[in-house]
Subunit: 362 residues, 4 copies
Amino acid sequence: MSQNPRRRVAVVGATGVAGQQFLVSLENHPWFEVTVLAASARSAGKTYREAITAENGQEKWGCEEALPDGFADQRVVDAAELDLDAVELVFSAVESDAARGLEEGFASHVPVVSTASAFRYEDDVPIIVPGVNHEHAILVKRQQRERGWKGFVVPIPNCTTTGLVIALAPLVRQFGVNSVIMTSLQALSGAGRSPGVGSMEILDNVIPYIPKEEEKVQTETSKILGRLAGERIEALDLPVSATCTRVNVRDGHTESVNLSLGRPASLEEVAGVLRAHGTEFTDLGLPSSPPELIRVMDDPYRPQPRLDRSLHDGMTTVVGRLREDRVLPNGIKLVLLSHNTKMGAAKGAILVAEYLVHKGLA
Amino acid sequence: MSQNPRRRVAVVGATGVAGQQFLVSLENHPWFEVTVLAASARSAGKTYREAITAENGQEKWGCEEALPDGFADQRVVDAAELDLDAVELVFSAVESDAARGLEEGFASHVPVVSTASAFRYEDDVPIIVPGVNHEHAILVKRQQRERGWKGFVVPIPNCTTTGLVIALAPLVRQFGVNSVIMTSLQALSGAGRSPGVGSMEILDNVIPYIPKEEEKVQTETSKILGRLAGERIEALDLPVSATCTRVNVRDGHTESVNLSLGRPASLEEVAGVLRAHGTEFTDLGLPSSPPELIRVMDDPYRPQPRLDRSLHDGMTTVVGRLREDRVLPNGIKLVLLSHNTKMGAAKGAILVAEYLVHKGLA
Amino acid sequence: MSQNPRRRVAVVGATGVAGQQFLVSLENHPWFEVTVLAASARSAGKTYREAITAENGQEKWGCEEALPDGFADQRVVDAAELDLDAVELVFSAVESDAARGLEEGFASHVPVVSTASAFRYEDDVPIIVPGVNHEHAILVKRQQRERGWKGFVVPIPNCTTTGLVIALAPLVRQFGVNSVIMTSLQALSGAGRSPGVGSMEILDNVIPYIPKEEEKVQTETSKILGRLAGERIEALDLPVSATCTRVNVRDGHTESVNLSLGRPASLEEVAGVLRAHGTEFTDLGLPSSPPELIRVMDDPYRPQPRLDRSLHDGMTTVVGRLREDRVLPNGIKLVLLSHNTKMGAAKGAILVAEYLVHKGLA
Amino acid sequence: MSQNPRRRVAVVGATGVAGQQFLVSLENHPWFEVTVLAASARSAGKTYREAITAENGQEKWGCEEALPDGFADQRVVDAAELDLDAVELVFSAVESDAARGLEEGFASHVPVVSTASAFRYEDDVPIIVPGVNHEHAILVKRQQRERGWKGFVVPIPNCTTTGLVIALAPLVRQFGVNSVIMTSLQALSGAGRSPGVGSMEILDNVIPYIPKEEEKVQTETSKILGRLAGERIEALDLPVSATCTRVNVRDGHTESVNLSLGRPASLEEVAGVLRAHGTEFTDLGLPSSPPELIRVMDDPYRPQPRLDRSLHDGMTTVVGRLREDRVLPNGIKLVLLSHNTKMGAAKGAILVAEYLVHKGLA
């Protein structure tokens, strides 16, 4: 530990949107050192800066933060030829259909924390959200035993699910939640960059459909909020009726949520429970952890994506507009905001990895 | 009728956003001739073009269509000193608190069709939406009798209510509707221009609150969908739980709607009922009437405000994304789009006036 | 002529942005009937609607106007296998490097009017802008003679050049123009759709560079404004120093232009010359011709893309902010607006074709 | 000095856009402590948070950074009744016509550094831009002597002038500059908030005119780049032909600049001179000073407002697209970006104040 106590990690899919976010969030990380940048064969052999430069000469760097100098000149390797003896953990941001095969290969050697959906719906794979169901992490032992892997795969959820389950978790625990109706107003960065959303499509517009998103929100929410029974997750029987739309906002998914509590509760009680959420997790003091998982705002004009998405570097879910709902039994409604490329993607995955390291699982 | 069969009408509040929309929609109208443009004392005596020109010389004309030449040089009169003998009908787009007093004065002489909210919640005042509850119009006789007016006031609803009740009306009639949960993504033009929404507020942003809007949607929807009992409206007992937000779209309110039908119905049935809506009204062939009140689209990416708001000059409500909802009993969900400054404001009011004339009420 | 006097035309590259604009502008055209839609081999055999539908099911139709029903179900043919006996004229909107080879093949049989740049810089190829240099069209005879073609190629210029040369032409003729400095604020639609400009790139942003654009403006402006000497064009010796930027506007290129006149002229003279421009051309009454080629506005807040780009269906160049310039000799400056996908692309090409037909050249 | 060595300062016009920027930039300032917040009589007596809250309950805080807690509950005083014995320096961000009278009153007692234009064009008043003409500051002694003031007024320029003169200054010094042609693409925040630019005006649009801006740029540039002759400034005889437009960008003015150098210079020389600019100033290490006044970028796609405006907290002018210009003698052209509410407004004024303190003038 004296020379370099940091774990050597690879970022795979490093040239994509999520991969770029990994680099920004891992620069100067106290526990992880990015020693390998991997991407498709097309990028292999190029420096990272070359690999993200389009044919027309434009650098396709999509983060607000500058490209860390240390990565710009690093050579990119072919993800399919990654030297797994050289790294201790893999962050996977593979966007393509190749994710399944690649992650399987990585996991047979080392732990993999992934933003890809390839393994999310497997029985022995937990989808971890910090502060919500980190106890599901124990399933990685089942993966190792049953699959004969030295490592494992832990995916994080779709970015639209993240904020929702963070707000639901404490309500489920305290009051029970019987049903959820949600309309999302999602940011452009959630759609990635290739091709992503075209500027002509979204200018002066709303797109009322995001393929597969509504199904993912239903399935993932039930699984994440499910009960751990031994080495199985019993999905929560919670109908989630989602309508997912895209709006002209760069970062930060806004969600309008109506839900039915299991018992009557005042708005004050609900606000209190939301505010108190996750202190046992934040008290761990993990490097990427925000000091609060949920911020509840009283100003009816909040949360707003531009003003509130960056609270605690995008790791805090912001809840506002808490009101009674007349339609659902014990109904309440609220608007929440979650930063889709921070807690909802790379930095959330890093926080999960930190938890796994902390628990001795990775 | 031989010389000029058109009714002489005044547009009051002619310089505001809604007033401008009236002028565009009344240019070359076959039944109405705008002979008087009225506004506040501040504008009185100026030409219309002068009246809408700001101190910095910028013309504050907010419509896509050009300012009709015929109005540009017309003199604006003080709304408080309107010569009511000179006009046969008043279109009121008064934005300020002055609406109540002014409209009362007008209505004592001539019919008033208004986009203002001043009289919307009075017992003897119908809020009319074409094709939905035009039969409520009969209440104007009660107004005349009880208030001793020669004219009357007929307001149209808030622009967010309009699209919602148009989509709900045929479902209420055919299946019954027990409850509604709605999240709106409203356009900028709904906020008017003084001050309206600032460009810095909405760029890269969503504003999750519009004061009083959610309450208006509840109250107006129940009243409009209510049953006419003699000369009274019995409001429909329909809980409508709304969350109203503002997005960076110029025109066209998008609404994500979940609702509980009174009895089971397939999506095909629902689509059929929506498509068939309002033919008895459109068959009247009124000048501002669209050929269809509702268009149902199958493409899941529609409706989109920029692509669909101008269907039939913004007079048709576009419905898409029809799906089952697992949360509500006999639940269905859909996304609708309504042009807030066309059917939802001035041109909708003109269509109401056409109906009143057609029925011999005005 | 009795059955169908319209010329049968093919639109090649029909699925791209410019191709779509051709379809919109050719629907119900009195002289041309689109009988063939051609695109790459990938689209061949599909209906047009299928061909423009992306894998995720989203229809990639980019025009404000709806997809004309008549084209939606038409089969797309492979551009490389076009039956040239079946058409009398080709509109080419080929975006790829394939343009040169394809257009050469077409031109050997029939006239080709093109938005592509493949042939723009050949000595015997005129770049035609309606009302500016339509007399250059005579060069097509040289093409036919020297290349042994039955048809010919006539390209229109880059969309940024179009508005500039329209404004410059009458000034060159009347006063002479010695030099031009221009900064453009170009619309998104000028970049096409594949990939086009990403929504995350341009939100809250300006991109100060468009590859090759500044060079094209220089070269094309000199050629278009050049003098016809027999069957040669002598390029005008006019330095044009351009800086081309992209802004978050859907349609309509704005250009801030400073120029040095050949002799002193008052702003009134200049405005008068601009206003008088092109009447000999508009008097031809060609089907796609606007009634005026240039509109000069006095309101200093104009032209604005959203308000003014659609004047005469985007076929009129709008000039405003006419002022003296202290820096250049006999300097004046102005701001112009040109609709880049109308006069600057497909509809401009159609107007050129109309002229060629009118002159008996096509 | 032992207890609190910081100067007590008042921010006047504290509730406006520029005033808010002052508060953000003065929080925890090592030299200045904001002890008084002053605004119009309308705000007097309210807490600061109350004073910036609109009637509809919406907080009108316009900065990206959060409202510093320490100011939220501070009482606002009437600017006209400011206790000038209680402060040692005034930062004035007064937007209204009242600026002249108010600043005169302040300056008779204490130094005033102002973003207002009221005194900019007086003979004995320097317009200071850090690193460009800080030596002009000596004029404050003439003000004191001739006007009998104990304090003085030092305004900073219009935000469009700032970036331009920073880029021009080293070129003037090294090569001479004979003329400038400039087109600006200005951000929304430059227009303030009351009323500012309406969201409907700028969506999908460019506004080609900003009243008085072009004249200000000419006058201020000549004065700032002028030579100090004793206690007089001899304005530089430099024609600056500006066209100022507004684009849909929140912060950061982009300027496309063509200029004529006094003698031939290669692009490398020019870049070198720009890069070397201002080290004598940045070496002073003033608290708000950036480490470099100008950053020159080689990537032709830069500078972009969203990516580059916040370099060194918006205090560095970013220059790119350096090219030769064929039109002007010894012509070069470039694109520059300057953060209009940081170096171009409040934080630039604070840096000026720091310089005045450093020199013992304040």
